[in-house]
Symmetry: C2
Subunit: 202 residues, 2 copies
DNA sequence: AGCGTAACTGCATCGAGTGCAGAATTGCAA
DNA sequence: TTGCAATTCTGCACTCGATGCAGTTACGCT
């Protein structure tokens, strides 16, 4: 049951994310202080840190949800699937959810991740955490085919391939000004290329 | 020519790294302030930041060297080698150098990377930078077999596999007391498995 | 209505990091 | 050796992120 307290808290949380997004876009990340964000969301500065542990955190509000989605994809495997196939499927399973991740906030996060060291570091850390979590579940799902080490290697290769492809796309000059829809198409195509070795082998 | 100025600067730099290592080991990372490190190296606190841009940086003094080593491995390829083979070879090429990376500082760095968020973030950022650099060189070395995207994917898979496997190996209980040589064998084996799709395809 | 608990807030404090200006050191030439 | 220019070092003042603490406010429940 969602009490009034919980709903209020959720509303302030959203307000903080929106205020931060707005301020980061107009003023820039470093030029925006936590006090500014708190003031815009009409809470005390001190209270900000009871919602987000750090300034960067406000840019990754639903980090847990993504891990959960990947874990879910592993859980709903069909009997015949290989580990690699399961990983590939997580991408298609994320399709609709990925659309949700292409909003204004996501675009901003992308830009700041490439620009601000602190944000970049935080993003990478979250990625690695997710990576380890997925590897653990994948290993549990295929105890006869994978050990800890090979599971780690496989998931690492998978995420690494996707990230590497994405990075290559974003490194193209003018990538950040381009059309998001077109970029998504490019990413899908690039991902297919990157994963071809797995889908072909065996 | 290395002037007296340069030599002195290099000596102070080394002193800072040693002092920091010593303090981090005894007191812990968070419990050591930059002022402590500077005092131990007998320089002013302010001067620390003219040697290292941040507190974390002192843990990664030779970041550029490793990238150079990988680039070197790519440059010294034999005519028949495939891109994937070159990458695997970087592991064996690094063999002796890797031993050098198993010293006291490296062990400390490993522990802090797993423990302190700031250090972890910085390490990951350096890794990704290296990844991009290697991908660029690999692509330049095999212009007929790789485009930007697939080069990014391949290197991403390689580094991802190594990191993922290494992580899994180090997660094993008692890993830090184990035999380094055996661990290196495990690492190589896991990497080969993860890259098998690439070595087979085409 | 009233009580216990959880959330909010201001305040004081610490440490990282930066800009600035002056002192100290080094390189170089006369 | 001496003098000058350039570089480096250093203290000082300051901003901002983050934390601990204590008092206040708001909510949930009986």
């Amino acid at each position: 049951m969602t009490s009034l307290r919980d709903r209020k808290r959720e509303r302030t949380r959203r307000a903080l994310v929106e205020a931060a997004t707005e301020l980061f876009e107009t003023r820039g990340y470093d030029e925006t202080t936590v006090a500014d964000i708190a003031a815009a969301a009409e809470i005390g500065t001190r209270t900000f840190f009871s919602y987000f542990a750090s300034k960067e955190e406000v840019l990754f509000p639903e980090a847990d949800a993504r891990i959960a989605a990947a874990v879910e994809a592993v859980a709903t495997r069909t009997p015949g699937e290989t580990p690699a196939e399961v990983l590939v499927r997580t991408l298609t399973d994320l399709g609709p959810a990925a659309d949700e991740m292409l909003g204004r906030t996501a675009a901003l996060r992308l830009r700041l991740t490439a620009t601000v060291p602190a944000v970049r570091g935080r993003g990478l850390q979250l990625q690695l955490d997710a990576q380890r979590e997925i590897a653990r579940h994948l290993r549990d799902a295929f105890p006869d085919q994978l050990d800890e080490v090979s599971a780690g290697a496989l998931v690492g290769a998978f995420i690494g391939a996707v990230t590497g492809a994405l990075q290559a796309i974003l490194d193209r000059p003018g990538a950040l000004d381009g059309d998001p829809a077109a970029m998504r198409e490019d990413l899908k195509a690039a991902t297919k290329v990157a994963l071809r070795p797995w889908t072909q082998a065996e």
